[in-house]
């Protein structure tokens, strides 16, 4: 039955989709709500999904659309809370393997990502945090693969500029 297959879809992807939504909304309760809504929508459409479809990318598309609607509805609130959430972060939990990443730099990186324009931020998080293909990101954002790549690169450029002085200095740096 399709229902059993859908249970497997939830089992395989819910945690990651929630993590994606947590990264883009910076609020656990929003990630809870939107991840549930993502899977409820997916369930409604699941039996119409052609066999062999990329279910993970499809779920990212649904989650991305819900995320964007959510931002539009609550743009101001989101910024306020995202900032607050960053303030409340516990000490670097990756102390064991994060010797190169000082807390300050890491927080700065997260803040820069949060401040990116929506499409760049979503494309950047999908690519760099969830390792989706550019074509999948394009499908999620209703744009071409090339535009998706351009969004990620523009985001990278902005992030890199904002971290000037916080990145390891190359041996031939002229700065």
């Amino acid at each position: 039955m399709a229902e059993d297959a859908f249970e497997a879809v939830v089992g395989s992807h819910h945690a990651e989709i929630r993590r994606y939504l947590l990264r883009i909304t910076a609020r656990g309760s929003d990630a809870d709500d939107l991840s549930q809504e993502t899977f409820l929508r997916a369930f409604r459409a699941y039996r119409a999904l052609p066999p062999g479809s990329n279910v993970r990318a499809w779920l990212f598309t649904i989650a991305t659309n819900l995320g964007r609607n959510h931002f539009r509805a609550q743009a101001r609130r989101r910024r306020a809370y995202a900032a607050a959430a960053l303030e409340m972060r516990p000490d670097a939990p990756d102390r064991t393997d994060g010797q190169m990443l000082a807390d300050e730099t890491r927080e700065r990186l997260e803040r820069v990502i949060t401040g990116l324009p929506a499409k760049q931020r979503l494309a950047f998080i999908m690519r760099k945090m969830h390792e989706l293909e550019y074509a999948e990101i394009g499908a999620s954002l209703s744009c071409s693969e090339e535009s998706a790549r351009a969004h990620v690169f523009q985001a990278l450029r902005k992030v890199r500029r904002s971290l000037d002085g916080h990145l390891p200095v190359g041996t031939e740096s002229s700065s």
Binding site: R19, A45, G98, R106, M129
Partner: protein, 321 residues
Amino acid sequence: MSPQLPVCRAIEPDLLSVAAGEAGPTAAGRVEAHLATCGLCRAELTHYRALEGMMATLRRAPLPDDDATLARAQLASRLSDLRSRMVGFGIFPSPLGRILIGRSEQGVALVQYLPADGPLSARVRRLLGEDAVEDRAATEGLRAELVEYLEGRRARLDWPLDLRRMRSDFQRRVLEATAALPYGAVTSYAGIAARIGAPAAVRPVAQALRWNPLPIVIPCHRVIGGSGALIGYAGRRVELKQRLLAVEGVKTVAARNDFKVDREAMYTMVTGDSEYCVPTCGSLLSRSMSTLTLFGTREGAEAAGFAPCTSCRPDLHPLPA
């Protein structure tokens, strides 16, 4: 600082690809050639590689609030609720025109006659509910059985039913009494009212049957007027009622804008009895339809579990075919 020269700006996308480990051989070659002469971009590549490293660390690092347990439990409950509400439907041609069949997790929830073409009406969409999805595969087996039924090759539709679209408890009682009418039998609206213990509620019974969400399956076509006239069906489509009754062996004659069941041509039994009679047995012809169940054929009466009357012996003296 980032590269400022036009040539550096041009190479920057390739540089980012190389830093991310995504570059193809051509882009990698271009970058290598450029770096050989540009110290600025060599430094830039180091920065971007460091940034990629930071992001890889961030990707692996635990997230605050990364606990999906609550959301997962809530999702399971909401999915279960959605599943029970959700209707999968198919639209099919049939001997009685275009028909929609909808089924939920609980059973068959909706059967509707549709116009020959055009979109679903607002009423049908409301009955389907907002969570309806077209799902021909889920209703294919039902369609095949329904067509067999309409062609007279099947006398029962033993489908589990989802009765949540009933408008009231009263309607549910009316439809349950109607569902109990045997194949090939008819009774009157007043007969159904009497069966549910509300003998005065003839018009409400007719209204309840008018909004039957499961025609054919709940055989409201077996309920007719006290005079034998078919009265109405599916809006103004009384001819469908006549055809359904004909399939079941109930003969009708054309009347003005309607059809009529001829009581004198029907095997007759007093509702609640266990024997069926010819209509001339005793005073049956003068009794109100509300106390009677009529059968088009002896076979129909016997298939429903009734025995021939030992006085009038319909088995020995059948009605003319």
